[in-house]
C-alpha cells in the first residue's frame, strides 16, 4: 500500500528482500536497537542526538539502506574514538518509506519529539522538498541533504553534500565528446531533476561543439522505448545521455542493446549509474556504460579502499557503499558536521552552521571534501567510470576538487 507509482519491476522484489534481511542481520550483529542506537559504553555526559531520515522501505530503499549502514558505521566509529566534545553520539533513524506525506510526520518526530541536533537525509528531491520546512523553517534545526540533485537549493541551515549538475557534467560531457562522438540524445524521466540536468548537459555539450539529435521525456515508470530507440538508431546518435531512473533506465539500456546501438559504437551515459544500479541489468548490456560520480569502488586511494573493506566487513556485499544512492553523501554529511561541531565547540545550530560553512575533511570516499564558503555545497573530486565486465573502471579523475557552482558562486 505504500508503494510509489514508480514501483520497481517484480523481479527485483526478491533482491530487495535479500537486501533488507542483510541490513537486518547487520543490525542484529551490531547488537544495537533497531531504531535508536545508544552508545554502548557508559558515558557521564548527555548524548548528542543525530537524526537520519532515509527511505528504508519502498522503491528507493535500494538507495536508503546503504546510507543507513554508513550512518551506523560512522556513529559507532566516532563513539569508539571518544565521542564528540566528550559526549557520545546517539543515532535516531526514521524510515521515510518513499512516501512524502508520511515522511513529514516521521521527521517531525525527529525534530520535536527526539529533539535531535541535526537531521541528515532525504533522497529524492521531492522528499527534500517535503521535509525541509519541518526541519529548517518550522523546526529551527540544521538539515544536511546527501544526494546528487538538480541544484538551486540555497537557503540558510540547509547544506548539500551530494554532487551538483556542474560537478557531474562539466568534465563528463567533454570526455564523452572526445571518446565517443558528437551526436547526443537526451532522454529523461518527466520530473524536475532530469529536466534540469539534461538542460545543463545539453548546454555544455553544444558549447563543446556537439549536436543535439533530440531531448525527450517519458513518465517515470515507462518501460517500452521502441519509438525512442528508433529515433536514436536512425539519428546516428553517438551518446545517449540518460536521466531516466529505474525501471525505465534498465529497460532502455536493454532495448538499445538489442537494437545494436552499443555494437555500432554508441555509448549510454547515466550519472545515476553506480555499482548497485549496474546490477539491475545484465553484464553484457551495461558494458561500456559511462557515469560520473564522486566515488567508485575502483577509486584507488588507500583511504577509499580501506573504507570499502570496513563497510563490507560490517554489512556484507549487499547494499554496497556507492555514490549514486547518496551513501557517500551521508559519509560526508556526518564527517563535515562532526568537524564543524568540533570547531564550534557546541551543537547549537547557529555556531555549527557557521563552522559548517567552511568545514573540511581530509579523507572521504573518493578523496577530501570541503564546503565552499557561502554556498553550502561541497567541493570534491569527481571520477568518470566506465562499466567493464560488470564493474566500474575509473577512466579519468578530475584534476583536483571540482567546484559545485551553486548559489551564485
Amino acid at each position: 500500500m505504500y508503494d510509489d507509482h514508480s514501483a520497481r519491476p517484480v523481479s527485483l522484489s526478491r533482491r530487495l528482500l535479500l537486501q533488507r534481511s542483510a541490513l537486518l542481520s547487520g543490525m542484529a550483529a551490531l547488537g544495537a536497537g533497531s531504531y535508536v542506537m545508544m552508545p554502548s559504553e557508559s558515558w557521564a555526559a548527555e548524548p548528542i542526538k543525530v537524526g537520519f531520515a532515509l527511505d528504508l522501505t519502498g522503491p528507493i530503499s535500494v538507495q536508503g539502506l546503504p546510507g543507513a549502514n554508513v550512518a551506523k558505521m560512522l556513529i559507532e566509529e566516532i563513539n569508539a574514538a571518544g565521542g564528540l566534545l566528550g559526549r557520545p553520539l546517539q543515532m535516531f533513524l526514521e524510515d521515510t518509506a518513499t512516501n512524502e506525506s508520511l515522511a513529514v510526520t516521521r521527521v517531525r518526530k525527529l525534530v520535536q519529539n527526539d529533539d535531535v541536533d541535526v537531521v541528515i537525509g532525504g533522497i529524492t528531491s521531492s522528499m527534500r522538498n517535503a521535509i525541509k520546512d519541518t526541519i529548517v523553517s518550522r523546526g529551527k534545526k540544521l538539515y544536511i541533504y546527501p544526494q546528487l540533485y538538480e541544484g538551486k537549493e540555497c537557503q540558510p541551515n540547509l547544506f548539500c553534500t551530494g554532487p551538483t549538475p556542474a560537478q557531474q557534467v562539466d568534465t563528463f560531457v567533454p570526455w564523452l565528446i572526445k571518446n565517443t562522438g558528437k551526436r547526443f540524445f537526451f532522454p529523461g524521466a518527466d520530473y524536475i531533476w532530469p529536466h534540469t540536468l539534461n538542460g545543463y548537459a545539453r548546454r555544455v555539450a553544444e558549447r563543446n561543439g556537439a549536436t543535439t539529435v533530440g531531448e525527450e521525456y517519458s513518465p517515470t515508470d515507462q518501460t517500452d522505448y521502441g519509438a525512442l530507440v528508433n529515433k536514436i538508431m536512425s539519428g546516428n546518435v553517438d551518446v545517449v545521455f540518460s536521466t531516466l531512473i529505474p525501471p525505465g533506465l534498465p529497460a532502455l539500456i536493454r532495448q538499445l542493446y538489442e537494437a545494436g546501438f552499443m555494437k555500432r559504437g554508441g555509448r549510454v551515459a547515466s550519472v545515476l549509474y553506480d555499482e548497485s544500479t549496474l546490477k539491475i541489468s545484465s553484464t553484457a548490456e551495461v558494458e561500456g556504460v559511462a557515469s560520473c560520480l564522486d566515488y567508485f569502488r575502483a577509486v584507488d586511494d588507500p583511504f577509499s579502499r580501506k573504507l570499502h573493506e570496513r563497510y563490507v566487513a560490517m554489512f556484507g556485499p549487499k547494499n554496497p557503499l556507492s555514490a549514486a544512492g547518496g551513501s557517500t553523501g551521508v559519509y560526508r554529511a556526518v564527517k563535515l558536521w562532526e568537524a564543524a561541531v568540533r570547531e564550534a565547540g557546541s551543537v547549537a545550530r547557529d555556531p555549527v552552521a557557521k563552522a559548517l560553512d567552511h568545514a573540511k575533511i581530509a579523507d572521504g570516499p573518493g578523496g577530501p571534501a570541503e564546503m565552499v564558503p557561502g554556498t553550502r555545497h561541497v567541493r570534491m573530486n569527481m571520477y568518470i567510470g566506465v562499466a567493464k565486465g560488470g564493474r566500474y573502471e575509473v577512466v579519468e579523475k578530475s584534476s583536483g576538487p571540482v567546484e559545485p557552482h551553486e548559489c551564485g558562486k
Binding site: 505504500y2 508503494d3 537486518l24 533497531s34 539502506l65 518509506a97 518526530k109 519529539n113 522538498n129 517515470t220
Partner: protein, 341 residues
C-alpha cells in the same frame, strides 16, 4: 427526535438498547479536548494530522458506508484542494485560513461535481465496479498530470506553504492548529451525522441495501448518490486544504491512488457505515504504523498489512463491531426495533 414525544423516551431507549456509539462519541470528544494537556508538540501534531485524515476517512464513509458508492479516488478531492490552497497561499499570498478552507471545500465540491458527472451520471446506470475503477482512474490520472506539470512543481510538489491565520491567530503546529482541526472535525462530524440520520440518509440507506427497489418507489436514486458523492467531495477537499496548511507542503502523494487506498483501509479498519469507525480507524492505523516502524523500521508495512488483512477477513464490519452491536451499526429508522433495516 420526533416532535411531540416526551423528552424521557429517547433517554429510556438509550438505556434499554445500550446505544454505544453516542458513548464513544462523547468519550472521544472529551479525551480529544483534554489531550493537549498531556501531549508534547510532536504528539499534538500527530493527533492533528489524524484529525485531518479522519475528516478524509469520514468523507469516504459517507460515500461507501451510507450511499454505497465505492469511491476509490477520495484522495483526488483531497489533493486537488490541497494544490488549490498551496497555489493561493504561495502565488497570491492569501493566508486567511477561513478563505483558504472555504476555497478548499469549494474546490472539493466542484471536483466532486465533475467526477459525479463522469462516473455516476453516464448514459447507463453505472455498476459498483465501474464506479470503483472510475474513481480510482480519476485519482490516478490527476496524479500523473500533476507529476508532469511544472507549474505545480511536478514530482516535487509545492513546498514552503506559509502559515495561515484564523481570526488573528497564527495557525502553527501546536495547540492552535490542534483545536482548530478538532472543532472542524467535530462540526463536520455532527453535520454528517445529522445528514445520514435524516430522511435523506434513510433514502441513502435504502439505496445501499437495494437500489432497484428504491427506484421502484419513485426515488431518483442516482441523484441521491450524486449529492452524497459531492458532499463527500467537499469534506475531502476541506481535509486536503487543512492538511496542506498543517504540513506546509503539497505533493503528488496527496492526490494519487496510494492515499486513496489508504483512506479505504482507514474506514474498513475502524468499521464502515458508522462515521465514528472511520475516525477511530484512522487513529489506530496511524498509531500502529508509527509504533511498528519504531520497532521494526524495515518491516512495519508488513505488520500493518497483516493486521489489516486479519481485520478485513475476520471482522469485515471493522474493529468497531467489537463494541457496537450489529443492529446499532446498521441503524434504526422509525419504530422498528428488530434491526432489520
Amino acid at each position: 427526535m420526533i416532535p411531540g414525544r416526551p423528552m424521557s423516551l429517547p433517554m429510556l431507549r438509550f438505556a434499554t438498547d445500550r446505544a454505544v456509539i453516542p458513548l464513544i462519541e462523547m468519550g472521544l470528544l472529551l479525551v480529544f479536548a483534554l489531550l493537549p494537556f498531556g501531549l508534547n508538540s510532536f504528539w499534538m501534531a500527530f493527533a492533528t494530522r489524524v484529525f485531518i485524515l479522519g475528516l478524509l476517512a469520514l468523507s469516504f464513509d459517507l460515500a461507501w458506508g451510507y450511499a454505497g458508492i465505492l469511491s476509490f479516488g477520495q484522495a483526488l478531492f483531497f489533493g486537488v484542494s490541497g494544490y488549490a490552497v498551496a497555489l493561493l497561499a504561495t502565488r497570491l499570498g492569501i493566508t486567511n485560513a477561513a478563505v483558504l478552507l472555504a476555497a478548499a471545500a469549494a474546490t472539493g465540491l466542484l471536483t466532486g461535481v465533475v467526477m459525479a458527472a463522469i462516473v455516476l451520471f453516464g448514459r447507463k446506470t453505472p455498476t459498483q465496479v465501474f464506479v470503483a475503477l472510475g474513481t480510482l482512474t480519476g485519482s490516478y490520472v490527476i496524479d500523473r498530470v500533476v507529476r508532469g506539470w511544472a507549474l505545480v512543481g511536478g514530482q516535487n510538489g509545492i513546498p514552503s506553504v506559509p502559515v495561515a491565520t484564523l481570526a488573528g491567530v497564527a495557525l502553527e503546529e501546536g495547540p492552535a492548529f490542534y483545536y482548530a482541526a478538532l472543532v472542524l472535525l467535530a462540526l463536520v462530524y455532527l453535520g454528517l451525522r445529522a445528514l445520514v440520520r435524516s430522511q435523506f440518509g434513510l433514502v441513502l440507506a435504502g439505496i445501499r441495501q437495494n437500489e432497484a427497489r428504491v427506484g421502484f418507489l419513485g426515488y431518483g436514486a442516482q441523484n441521491y448518490k450524486g449529492l452524497a458523492f459531492c458532499v463527500a467531495g467537499a469534506v475531502a477537499g476541506l481535509a486536503g486544504g487543512l492538511y496542506v496548511l498543517h504540513e506546509g507542503f503539497v505533493g503528488p502523494g496527496q492526490i494519487g491512488p496510494v492515499l486513496s487506498t489508504q483512506v479505504v483501509l482507514y474506514a474498513m479498519f475502524g468499521g464502515v457505515g458508522t462515521l465514528i469507525g472511520a475516525v477511530l480507524g484512522t487513529g489506530l492505523i496511524e498509531l500502529v504504523g508509527h509504533f511498528a516502524s519504531q520497532y521494526w523500521e524495515i518491516g512495519w508495512p508488513v505488520v500493518l498489512g497483516l493486521l489489516l488483512l486479519a481485520v478485513i477477513t475476520w471482522r469485515p464490519a471493522g474493529l468497531i463491531s467489537f463494541i457496537v452491536p450489529e443492529r446499532e451499526r446498521k441503524g434504526r429508522y422509525g419504530a422498528r426495533k428488530d434491526g432489520l433495516s
